[in-house]
Symmetry: D2
Subunit: 154 residues, 4 copies
């Protein structure tokens, strides 16, 4: 279960602060979702797309589902690496594989799949991914994957 | 420093969960600000005013300043009582005295003064408190306090 | 997707506060994990088991994995009901089905499976569930499920 | 009130993520306390002192009191600079002046005074600052300030 993770194309360094920990002496499990959101945001930003500009255009992104496996607990002062690898996308959604590693030894701390949907900020209804996001995904994912859409969870 | 607090007119019960604690084994200090915001919200709600309706009318509230003294640390599973006592208000702001007590023995855990300003949601600029909030404050604070308004506030 | 949820044996009321929301105008997705942890904690407490006493005995609980599907977004001021239904357990773990409903109409907002493992607080290593927790689970789950244990769990 | 801040000796860059914002479209006010804690932590780390090592030695730090004035709201995607300037210390405490600036134009977003006390992790009782922390403070603050110890804030 404890394993070293291979290099990912995008890895965001994240430091663990006291705010992230709980009375069990480890990072509170929900915090990994924060770290992963930061990594997705920075991946998008690194490609020149800004979330705030999106909000101004009535575009928002919501997590539609995720699964996460916690292997080893992160602790206070740890430096982490959080990956964000787009693995599939459709007209209104994109799927990411995201891992959290301990920077010092690249131990795998958590492994996750996250589906993010594009919605209209005002109504919350699904809407087509904006062009620049589609282009970004097309350059980073082998092929549009609407057809191989997972059927298990809707 | 450790003292028992007198009964306040409004006290919100709040339970401490693991999410609120940190690796020091106590409630993370910023969490008290969450508790106090919940108490202000519930005080307002108990008087029939809803924040969400406010947002729909382009009205938002922001904390403009606060001071807080932490006397005794709250811990996992503690049941707390959080007070929200309006003590002064002006055209665009209201001041609260807020204490956090441990329910079991009414020990004073923290004591705080909070100034909240009313702003327009879209621009963030100060705006007159809505009528229902002014009425609410007038019924709960001895007298309008614009004249003794600390001058540093805008 | 939007559906009404059946009555669950344990439902914790949770109010949505401004602290739970994000600039998208909805509850931040990681917050549902907080709500679910609170519901598990209160379910345990309702059965007479205290987490803090556990910590004093070097017993802690960690989330080992979870999946969650977000159906409808919770919003500011919403009153939610959060279920915690133990569905299986082994020597060192327990599985919960947890849903978040909107109290007003019992709309299903999220649906989740969560595996929680018992660990020693000091070492973080898995340890046998304490007797009182085993008894609690035995009374609430049809039968021990070690044999149908998913194999990936440790 | 809106002003440009002078260069501080220690400034931590902090990015605003969606997790930090609320339905009012701005950073939730309690989050500034998180940012300031991170800055104090990194200032200490930059001087070679680790918090985790402290916990292992039964040393913890708690915020004893703070005041903060919010001048301008931080928003999604903003890059901030968070200062941590030790201004006084005694046997068991240290005072920091901390400001949050918007990196783009060095606008002052918040200004704060924070008193942090050193406590024993197990009992929560005040204890003498460890030697390395005292040395660090002595090098960064003009003179020990026990004698001018707080009269201003109670």
């Amino acid at each position: 279960m404890v394993e070293q993770a291979p290099e990912a194309s995008f890895e965001l360094p994240v430091r663990v602060y006291i705010e992230d920990t709980d009375a069990g002496g480890i990072v509170f499990h929900a915090k990994y979702l924060h770290y992963m959101e930061r990594a997705r945001t920075e991946w998008v930003r690194s490609c020149g797309v800004s979330l705030r500009a999106g909000l101004a255009d009535n575009i928002s992104y919501v997590v539609q589902r995720l699964d996460i496996h916690y292997a080893v607990a992160a602790k206070l002062d740890d430096e982490l690496l959080v990956t964000a690898e787009p693995v599939a996308f459709g007209r209104v959604w994109m799927d990411f594989r995201q891992r959290v590693l301990r920077a010092a030894d690249r131990k795998l701390l958590s492994d996750s799949n996250v589906r993010v949907a594009c919605v209209a900020l005002d109504t919350g209804r699904p809407r087509r991914l904006p062009e620049n996001m589609q282009d970004l995904l097309a350059r980073n994912v082998q092929q549009p994957t609407e057809t191989i859409n997972r059927t298990s969870q809707e």
